[in-house]
Amino acid sequence: MASPEMNGADVLLEVDSLQAGYGRSAVVFDVSFSVGRGEIVTVLGHNGAGKTTTLKTIFGLLRPLAGSMRYDGSDLASTTYTERARSGISFTPAEKFVFPDLSVAANLRLGALGVADKGRRDHQERLVHDLFPILGERLGQAAGTLSGGQQRILSIGIALMSDPRLLLLDEPSLGVSPVITQEILSALRRMADEEGRSAILVEQNVGYALREAQRVYVMRSGRTILEATAEEMRDREHWWDLF
């Protein structure tokens, strides 16, 4: 289900009829979507719809049972998660998204693990500190002692340290104040517009999801049931029937 405005060259990630789950049991039955370069796409759906499973499969923590995933033209299923991390895909979980016993600085350093070139690492570090100055103020502090919202910001920082072309973010707004959520969303928008970094946001909160995303997919019970632009979603009468 590629967006009609995009042509082939602009597609960064294409997922087609994906089936995935744990062991032999599928919880994701038929999911299809695509993400363009510099595009922010949101995947919406109720709890248990299979959104996290989808993200984990794209990143490589789970093996797909059926369907295909193509990233930058090549098939993803044949690569390990380490390789995908090095090729520019980052993954940020919905819970436990920092290393609590390590310092903020160490957390960020680990984010840059896959970046071999020192110049790029320094560039990303400056970028992260520019976007989120609060991190620079607390470099020596153990990540577990930060507030929930600050930990969330740190998790985005960790993702950005890897110089990603595609960020996979699982419920970035969960348990976070609206102010910080806006800070995160604005940062993502800037990354998309200025540096062409794409992002898939998995969300349950429709409000946040629509704020900076261009396109939206809705999942229910393991399937994608709707694709729309952000405006189309906003203009919808109500959303109850989608969940």
Binding site: T92, K96, D101, L110, L113, G114
Partner: protein, 325 residues
Amino acid sequence: MTHQLLATILGIDSVRQVVQAIVSGVVTGAGYGLIGAALALILGVTGRFHFAIGSTYMVTAYLAAVAADIWGLPLIPALLVGLAIGTVFGLLIEALVYHPLASRAGEGALLPVFVGSLGIVIITENVVRLIWGNDTRNLGGFPQHTYNIGNVTFTLLDVTLVVVAIVVLGGLSLILARTILGEQIRAVRGNPLMAQAVGVNVRRIFYVVFALGSIVAGIAALFAGMKFAVEPAMGNEPVFYAFVVAFVAGTRRSPIFVGLVGIGIGLLESISTIWVSENVSALTVFGLLFVALAVRSGPAGLKQLSGALSSVNRQVGRVQRTGGS
């Protein structure tokens, strides 16, 4: 006069006896600390119930003795050969036994890995016996020198062990705290999912940790071999102490802290020999483990326990009411 009285009450022969006990406690404790820290690291990062650490322990010392006796190497190279072989052995255990068993089992991996490690223990000891016989070997060549301070004796080997233990555990703690590799190890230990998320190759880290653990435990084995003797069953007892130390100290602590706990346990054991036989002093160590485990259940546990007891009461009451009809 009060000293004498105190001494008699406590059952001590003399200050010398106490000091001697402290000294030997520190020495044995250093050994416990090394193997305990090795196991704590492996347990904390990989979660493998690595009972076979006793086997890598024994293999290190035994192959060092073989290298010295049979292949004729001088002491230092022989020790290094032993360490190398012991470490490779540790890596093979993870690669060929633990990893396949754990992948297959998923959530319930503890039992197969534990039983698998028991299998390794059985195989290793008996392969060694088969190839090289049952004899006790000696790892000689270390300069013999005994010190005597106020009738308290200890050897150069003893001092070296304590110094080496401090250096090794301190070094390991620094590696964990200050290096990128150490950060990755602590990352896997603290949040394995997030470690994967940043692209850490968790399998590779498992191997690194097994290597480090096998080396540190191996060092303890070499000293034990030089001080006492090398024989195929020498790994069996140290394993127990390793578990006690690792459990009491905790698997998320720094190696130097675990080392200190090891020394504490060595002291506990050694000082108790003033009053009881050696056998029974081992008892104090395991008694400590037992109590620590029992207490671990804690206040929440007591609530559950009282629930269990009240349900026993109900059952008994039911029998009484129905009169066993």
